[in-house]
């Protein structure tokens, strides 16, 4: 095998991901056909379920909010040459931070709770990422393995906390008591209503705007600051970084702290914005979907936004699908997620070579290899 072929920028960022996505969807269609349903009808149901009404758009963007946070988390780590598989655990712990603030400071005014809830989510998420980051930077422990282990440790810790400590007294299911109304985020329909735009009531909330802001922040930090430059150099070539006076081990820790903080903000949307309590397993695999989102979005905030909307649409359209098609359940969404990760990530070089040859033949590429 030769080294991966080089593509022009527009093909690298647009055409190749589109082809990979198409391949994943085609195979999903084949699976739906095997199950005995019509792929076309399924596609129509999903598109309608995801974008057909105000309500469905609201739900789609609500799911997308989680994936923007975790996708950005994976991307920041990726630019530093790190693979953060621990998004789920960091989101879990970050949500604990946000949730504790909401539980304890329920009597405080909203404008005081909100910044503290944001900070607590980010700090708890970052703290959970810190140990794997430190071990990678100073002791050379493989960050993929340690973050996986930390997902399981987070899960055990949170189960223990919810079952034994945070559980609402006199209740069977391990959930905390409900947050006070002023410790919850307003729904986007309320906000839009205030400026005179009617919108159906959905779980979509203020956290969506925080996610967009986080995307801008990541763009500025990674592409427009000296620190971001150091981050990308260390990620591309840590030996060169050392000669440029950059300390890769320090960058590793800083990048993972930012990554964990971003994942940790998931609790804003899921707990403070929608569930209004701390409950078991609320990240629900969003940390892993974040990998797919970052891969598809080419680790750029704009791409991540669109990829997150796509995966949000899959989640929402998928529940519509399982509702209307008796032979399809919600697990089909997970299959499609897996296939997208497979084609956009692991098999991304399959179409790269043929595409490069094709473009070189018809596009008359001038730069010789």
């Amino acid at each position: 095998m030769s080294t991966p072929a080089k593509l022009p920028r527009w093909a690298e960022l647009g055409l190749l991901p589109a082809i990979n996505l198409l391949a994943a969807l085609l195979l999903s269609g084949v699976i739906i056909k095997v199950i005995g349903e019509s792929p076309w009808a399924a596609l129509k149901l999903m598109a309608d379920g995801a974008f057909g009404s105000q309500e469905s758009v609201g739900y789609t963007l609500y799911y997308s909010t989680n994936f923007i946070f975790t996708g950005l988390a994976v991307a920041v780590a990726y630019h530093a040459g790190l693979f953060n598989i621990g998004g789920d655990g960091q989101a879990y712990l970050g949500g604990l931070g946000t949730g504790l603030v909401c539980l304890w400071l329920g009597s405080w005014p909203f404008w005081a709770v909100l910044p503290l809830a944001v900070i607590a989510g980010a700090v708890f998420g970052a703290a959970w990422a810190f140990i794997p980051a430190y071990l990678q930077a100073r002791r050379g422990s493989h960050i993929v393995i340690t973050t996986i282990m930390f997902n399981f440790i987070a899960s055990a810790l949170m189960t223990w906390l919810l079952v034994n400590i945070l559980i609402k007294p006199g209740q069977q299911s391990p959930e905390s008591r409900e947050f006070a109304p002023n410790a919850t985020l307003p729904g986007l329909h309320t906000l839009l209503g205030k400026i005179g735009i009617p919108f159906t009531s959905t779980p979509l909330n203020l956290a969506f705007l925080f996610a967009l802001a986080a995307g801008v922040l990541v763009w500025v930090l990674v592409w427009r600051t000296r620190w971001g430059y150091a981050l990308r150099v260390a990620g591309q070539n840590s030996a060169a970084a050392v000669y440029a006076g950059i300390r890769p081990s320090r960058i590793t820790i800083q990048a993972m702290l930012l990554s964990g903080a971003l994942a940790g903000l998931l609790g804003l949307n899921e707990l403070m914005g929608s569930q209004h309590r701390i409950l078991l397993d609320f990240p629900a695999g969003a940390g892993f979907v974040g990998i797919a989102v970052a891969l598809m979005g080419r680790n750029h905030p704009v791409g991540i936004f669109f990829a997150a909307v796509l995966f949000g649409a899959l989640m929402q359209g998928g529940s519509q699908l399982s509702f209307d098609m008796p032979r399809v359940n919600r697990d089909m969404v997970v299959v499609i997620q897996g296939l997208v990760i497979l084609f956009c990530g692991a098999l991304e070089n399959v179409f790269r070579g043929p595409l490069a040859t094709l473009l070189a033949r018809f596009g008359g590429r001038k730069d010789a290899p």
Binding site: M1, S2, T3, P4, I31, V34, I35, G36, F83, I85, I131, L135, R139, S141, H142, V144, I145, T146, I148, M149, F150, F152, I153, A156, L157, T159, W160, V163, N164, G285, F288, I291, L295, R327, V328, N329, D331, M332, V333, V334, V335, I336, Q337, G338, L339, I341, L342, G345, A346, L347, E348, N349, V350
Partner: protein, 324 residues
């Protein structure tokens, strides 16, 4: 119950929990020793668990189920090798992709084929499951206090897969460290260009290693759905693939220490089940979650270099390219 009976039963439970863990960990051992990260263990096991339960339910034969499980897991392994070796894709991403895809595919196909809400039918018929084998005289030996009970509970009374897992350890130690194939396999995980220079195909060796790992995961998955329980349920591996990976690392990528790690992790699991809500002298009730998290904590401590050192195969995770 007397203390020693309790201990013997705890050890018997340990063996049952350790079996799929050990099979998957040895599967990972072959893959990682050849330089391919074994992150797809979970998915290959789960795929095999579904396929074997489905085929056993339809055909009525656990053996046909085993074949289906092995074939399915090897097909997934082939996919992994195609992505990671042929197309030099990211091995972590490929493993995650397989894990996520299979986690959805099993229940999806189960719903479509059996219409039982994402499960396979209960395996109740004779020959649909791998049942415990009782050695001659095991029941009679139970009466004899210690050696008899040890014989009846620890040596006898397990299913075929358990014994297979037990003999797998010396066999894989022999294959990896005493045969030409094993030498080449280890070399390709440490220094693939040296192997290439010697005129041996790096890709071929890595394909073989990943396929072996698929076959063993197939056995592990079959154990879960047709021996340890009677049928496939959603997410029935429940992180065992990752725990096996942890055991492999804790065993420092060597067969016998990996066996030790699997037994230790399985023991903590069995202990957690036993200690649920039991107050111990001095410490009181130990939360089950803490015991269950122990394997992961231990592995992190090991990786951090606080409990000995674990050195991974040098070329692990790096796709091989002739041109460099």
């Amino acid at each position: 119950m007397e203390t020693y009976t309790l201990i013997v039963l705890l050890l018997a439970a340990t063996i049952r929990v350790a079996t799929p863990l050990l099979l998957a960990a040895i599967a990972g051992l072959f893959s990682e020793r050849s330089g391919v990260i074994a992150l797809g263990l979970e998915g290959m096991m789960l795929g095999a668990a579904f396929a074997s339960a489905a085929v056993a339910a339809v055909s009525g034969s656990a053996w046909l189920g085993l074949v289906a499980g092995i074939v399915t897991a090897m097909a997934l392994a082939l996919l992994l090798a195609y992505a990671c070796v042929t197309h030099r894709g990211n091995q972590v991403v490929a493993g995650m992709a397989v894990n996520i895809m299979v986690a959805g595919l099993g229940p999806s196909l189960a719903l479509a084929w059996f219409n039982l809400g994402g499960q396979t039918p209960q395996l109740e018929g004779v020959g649909q499951r791998f049942l415990a084998l009782h050695w001659p005289g095991a029941e009679a030996a139970r009466a004899v206090p210690l050696p008899g009970l040890l014989y009846a509970e620890l040596l006898s009374g397990h299913n075929l897969v358990v014994y297979f897992a037990a003999v797998l350890v010396p066999i894989s130690a022999w294959v990896l460290f005493r045969t030409r194939f094993g030498l080449r396999l280890r070399a390709v995980g440490e220094n693939p260009s040296a192997v290439d220079t010697a005129g041996i195909s790096v890709a071929r060796l890595r394909y073989q290693a990943v396929l072996i790992s698929g076959a063993l995961c197939g056995v592990a998955g079959t154990y879960l759905s047709t021996a340890a329980s009677s049928g496939f349920v959603r997410d029935m591996t429940a992180g065992k693939g990752y725990l096996a990976l942890a055991a492999l690392i804790f065993g420092k990528w060597k067969p016998y220490p990996t066996l030790g790690a699997c037994l230790l992790f399985a023991f903590t699991d069995a202990l957690a089940t036993r200690l649920q809500g039991v107050a111990l002298p001095l410490v009181g009730v130990i939360p089950v979650q803490f015991i269950l998290a122990l394997p992961y904590v231990l592995t992190v401590l090991l990786l951090a270099g606080f409990v000995g050192t674990a050195v991974a195969p040098k070329a692990i995770g790096v796709p091989y390219s002739k041109e460099k």
